[in-house]
């Protein structure tokens, strides 16, 4: 790694910190500007109770003071504070709990998507315009265009209600099987298509023809030359995709009642649980920023011709 690349990475990290700070600031003030508060419900609590609650959580202080205290707690203690809705629980714990499930779900789905996608894409490319290619293309087109809530509902009806092979609830034993499948189908289909077109392009390159002319075996051409080079677009896609599915898919979590971060995020917003809104936003933003950065660096690793600046 040369100095230029190193400088680039440092620059990107600094930029990432600024990005996250902007996200924190905007979210903090917009969140407090939205009508409604954490302690309002259909049954109003008395004015004195409301004041006592606000004083307890420091919500009675001026917004600017709250903002500075909040930033201070994050930077110095990495403490997102207590949840206002789930009394007695810390936002750190809630996020950790949610991330455990979401990360497990997301990582398994991402790995399945990557492996199956690359294999299917390569097969389709190598058997271009044959029957197998056609079948793969039809299926992947269907998966790419079918939203996850349709896919999730279909799988739920078929495998959880009718066949009863898997539970309908994500928290049960084997409960993550159906959500993993639902979550992985779209990226798998997308990766298949990316791999196929990119591999077709690579297979048409001069150096592949040269290798063939030299008598290099087919397997070696594919694994030694073609595959590695055709993965470049897949890698650029993989970073942001991983961030997307690891940080939780609300739809899938909702359909299968998976206790992930996506559900916690949405519930925190509807419930105006300020610290949890902030905590989840920060974690999700950070993950996305990091994944994008990793994706860019990987790009360089796979293709040394690319200069990062």
């Amino acid at each position: 790694m040369n100095t230029k690349t190193l400088m680039y990475i440092v620059k990107r990290i600094l930029l990432a910190i600024v990005t996250i700070w902007v996200v924190i600031t905007v979210t903090f003030f917009v969140m407090h500007a939205v009508p409604g508060g954490p302690f309002t419900g259909e049954k109003a609590v008395s004015e004195t109770v409301m004041q006592a609650m606000e004083a307890k959580y420091g919500l009675d202080k001026p917004l600017g003071v709250q903002y500075i205290t909040y930033l201070g707690d994050i930077v110095t203690k990495f403490d997102f504070g207590p949840s206002l809705k789930q009394r007695g629980r810390n936002v750190n714990d809630i996020i950790l709990d949610g991330m455990k499930t979401s990360a497990k779900l997301g990582l398994i789905a991402a790995v399945i998507a990557l492996i199956c996608g690359v294999i299917l894409g390569s097969v389709a490319a190598l058997r271009r315009n044959k029957l197998i290619d056609r079948i793969i293309m039809i299926i992947t087109t269907a998966f790419v265009s079918m939203p996850s809530f349709i896919m999730g509902s279909l799988l739920l009806i078929a495998f959880a209600i009718n066949l009863k092979w898997f539970p309908a609830n994500g928290a049960s034993k084997n409960g993550l099987v159906l959500p993993v499948i639902t979550l992985s189908l779209y990226p798998m289909a997308y990766i298949t298509r990316l791999t196929r077109s990119s591999m077709l392009e690579v297979l048409g390159q001069d150096y592949i023809r040269t290798a063939k002319a030299k008598g290099v075996s087919g397997v070696k051409i594919i694994f030694g030359h073609a595959l590695k080079n055709s993965l470049i677009p897949v890698i650029t896609y993989f970073g942001p995709m991983l961030a997307g599915i690891v940080t939780g898919s609300l739809v899938v979590e909702q359909i299968f009642a998976v206790p992930g971060i996506g559900r916690a995020f949405v519930n925190s917003i509807t419930g105006r649980d300020y610290p949890l809104v902030m905590g989840t936003t920060i974690v999700l933003a950070t993950l996305i920023v990091i994944m994008n950065l990793v994706g860019d660096i990987m790009y360089k690793v796979v293709d040394p011709r690319i200069t990062l600046e």
Binding site: A52, A160, A171
Partner: protein, 627 residues
């Protein structure tokens, strides 16, 4: 094969449409329902008539009430699902149970008996309870009277600021705790005479005291346990004294309760383990019920109600609930035609008459049968069905001007036409009516505010089309839940949907919310312009009071009346005063009741011994699974 595929796709589309609505339906339920059960109401024992069968298997039941409870600390909980879990985990002085005939009744729990109070010279009432022998906490320590004293003072304290702290307002000393300038050292008038004797003094005698003793907020907790603020979030620190102990809590997934063998009444508890699954998605709950994984679900997709009733006639249950779905007016909204010269009391009376006329136009039977579809009952009063009167009869049946129908209007289908004509006649007094088109031409247009949900929207549309039929423009506006609550509370609306579930079986839980300073006074009685409107009359001299007000303000009439009810010690007079309060409230036309709520749930037919209360609390401890 092809057929199968088509049906699969169709079915998925159906589920889809449900998925789209399910979320809003759950999130818009009218808030935590903590009503107190009717002592005489028959329990909703779903499978009471089923033939007796032998218990089968390990007696583990999987149920789903809602998503993660906000708190399982008895003092902090304010939700129905949390209350159900707390009822299984804690044992207070009293509890709800079934009598020999299968009717709900209050029974002593930690107390040896539910004693009568002794009235003191200053009008306060003192109760002395003796605790049962052998009561222990789940960690083996004995339960003492001092634990109750500590728990009650904690729940009522400013330091805890619990939503339901006001449940202790009937106890002497509560007012001092919340008085201006309170130091934090004030205490309730509750003392532990010794480890087994508890003495509590109430401000005055109240009819529902024993119900309060069974309310989750009144459960005991131990000082050394709750000194850890996070005690109620983890099984390792959760020390309780009820029929079950918490053996696992996988956050947002499942809470496992296991039978407590050291519980005093353990031999009566038949269910060995209860798994409370945590999900707020009605469609997912239904999927788990349909594939047999869960035996009871407390939420059903609104759009599926009609078909579920047909598919599962024995397992789909509609139970009574102490609540009213209604539409409320902003009392300060101008509704007279432009150029009207009425002012002061005349204006207020005209508006009252108009609002009451509009209430007659609404077809409640259509709303209940074709929109809500959950066995709701068309409502004609604000105090809900199920609340009892002084003599034990239904309060709502004795309400209103006529003995030929219950409540304030006749909401039977047969009366609809007559209501319609009466309403038109009234409106014609104030607005220009074009006979040719049968439309009013100068009614100002109104906005109907509701929180985002298919169900609320459909009801809004029904009212909109009814009003449009006579030329009144009603525009619909929806807001997200928390925003909606804010807007409605601040009075920035003309008409809004509303709902209320009582906290205990006493009509005052529906009436004291309409005093001027109440946080639930969405109508804005006595606020804004209405503060100076002197148009309300109150005469209770016939009941032995010297209050007689002609054309007074809201605070001179209604607020005074509620104050009188709260200090009244004669049951009959007190209930009569409450009827007067509802009369005054309904005369304004600002409250337009639509229907009385029902509690819908599904329970597997192999579960025996289940019951629920009109508060929506579910009881699984005496259940057995027989198939």
């Amino acid at each position: 094969m092809k057929k199968k595929l088509v049906s699969l796709v169709l079915a998925s589309c159906m589920v889809l449409s449900l998925a789209a609505c399910g979320q809003s339906a759950t999130s818009t339920e009218t808030a935590p329902a903590d009503t107190q059960a009717t002592e005489s109401a028959p329990a909703d024992s779903a499978n009471a008539d089923a033939p007796a069968a032998e218990p089968v298997g390990e007696q583990v039941i999987n149920v789903c009430l809602a998503s993660e409870p906000a708190s399982l600390d008895p003092a902090l909980n304010s939700a129905v699902d949390g209350a159900t879990m707390i009822n299984h985990l804690f044992s207070g002085l009293a509890k709800w149970g079934l009598d020999a005939n299968g009717n709900l009744e209050l029974q002593p729990d930690c107390a040896q008996e539910l004693v009568e109070g002794v009235e003191n010279e200053d009008g306060t009432v003192t109760y002395t309870y003796t605790l049962k022998d052998g009561l222990t906490w789940s960690d083996g320590q004995p339960v003492t009277a001092g634990d109750f004293v500590f728990a009650w003072n904690r729940a009522a304290s400013q330091a805890l600021a619990a939503d339901y702290g006001y449940m202790f307002e009937v106890v002497d000393g509560y007012a001092d705790i919340w008085a201006d300038g309170a130091t934090g050292d004030e205490k309730l008038n509750v003392t532990a005479v010794d480890d087994k004797t508890l003495e509590v003094t109430l401000v005055n005698s109240i009819a529902y005291w024993n119900e309060l003793l069974a309310f989750p907020t009144y459960m005991p907790v131990r000082e050394d346990v709750v000194s850890n603020e996070a005690w109620a979030t983890d099984p390792s620190t959760y020390v309780n004294n009820g029929a079950y102990t918490m053996t696992a809590w996988d956050h947002n997934s499942v809470i496992t309760l296991t039978k407590n063998e050291n519980f005093v009444d353990a031999d009566k508890v038949t269910m060995n383990q209860i798994n409370f699954y945590l999900s707020d998605d009605a469609n997912n709950q239904l999927a788990n019920f349909e594939n047999g994984d869960w035996q009871m679900i407390d939420d059903v997709p609104t759009n599926e109600i009609a078909s579920l009733k047909e598919t599962y006639p024995d397992e789909f249950v509609t139970a009574g609930q102490l609540g009213t779905y209604y539409v409320c007016w902003n009392i300060n909204e101008e509704i007279l035609p432009a150029g009207s010269t009425l002012t002061g009391a005349d204006k207020a009376n005209a508006e009252n008459e108009i609002r009451n006329a509009l209430a007659l136009l609404i077809d409640r039977n259509y709303i209940v049968n074709d929109i809500a579809q959950g066995g709701q009952v068309p409502a004609s009063s604000f105090v809900a069905m199920g609340l009892t009167d002084a003599d034990g009869s239904q309060f709502y049946q004795n309400a209103g001007p006529s003995s030929s129908f219950s409540g304030y209007y006749d909401v039977s289908e047969a009366a609809y036409e007559a209501n319609w004509n009466a309403a038109l006649d009234t409106l014609k007094k104030y607005y220009t009516f074009d006979e040719a088109t049968q439309q009013f031409t100068d009614f100002p247009s109104l906005v109907y505010l509701y929180n985002t949900s298919e169900g609320h929207k459909a009801i809004g549309e029904a009212i909109q089309s009814t009003f449009a039929g006579i030329g009144i423009t009603l525009n619909l506006e929806n807001q997200e839940w928390a925003t909606f609550l804010d807007t409605r509370k601040a009075g920035n609306y003309s008409i809004a949907r509303n709902g209320w579930l009582g906290d205990y079986n006493d009509p005052i839980s529906f009436l004291d919310m309409w005093t001027t300073q109440s946080g639930n006074n969405d109508v804005q009685f006595g606020k804004g312009d209405n503060a100076n409107v002197a148009a309300y009359s109150l005469d209770i001299t016939d009941l032995g009071y010297d209050t007689k007000v002609e054309n007074g303000t809201w605070s001179e009439t209604y607020d005074v009346l509620i104050g009188d009810i709260k200090t009244c010690t004669d049951t009959k007079t007190r209930y009569e005063l409450m009827h007067r309060a509802e009369d005054l409230l309904m005369s304004t036309g600002c409250i337009c009741p639509i229907y009385y709520y029902t509690d819908l749930y599904m329970i597997n037919k192999n579960v025996q011994g289940f019951f629920s209360s009109p508060l929506g609390y579910k009881y699984f401890m005496y259940c057995t699974i027989t198939g």
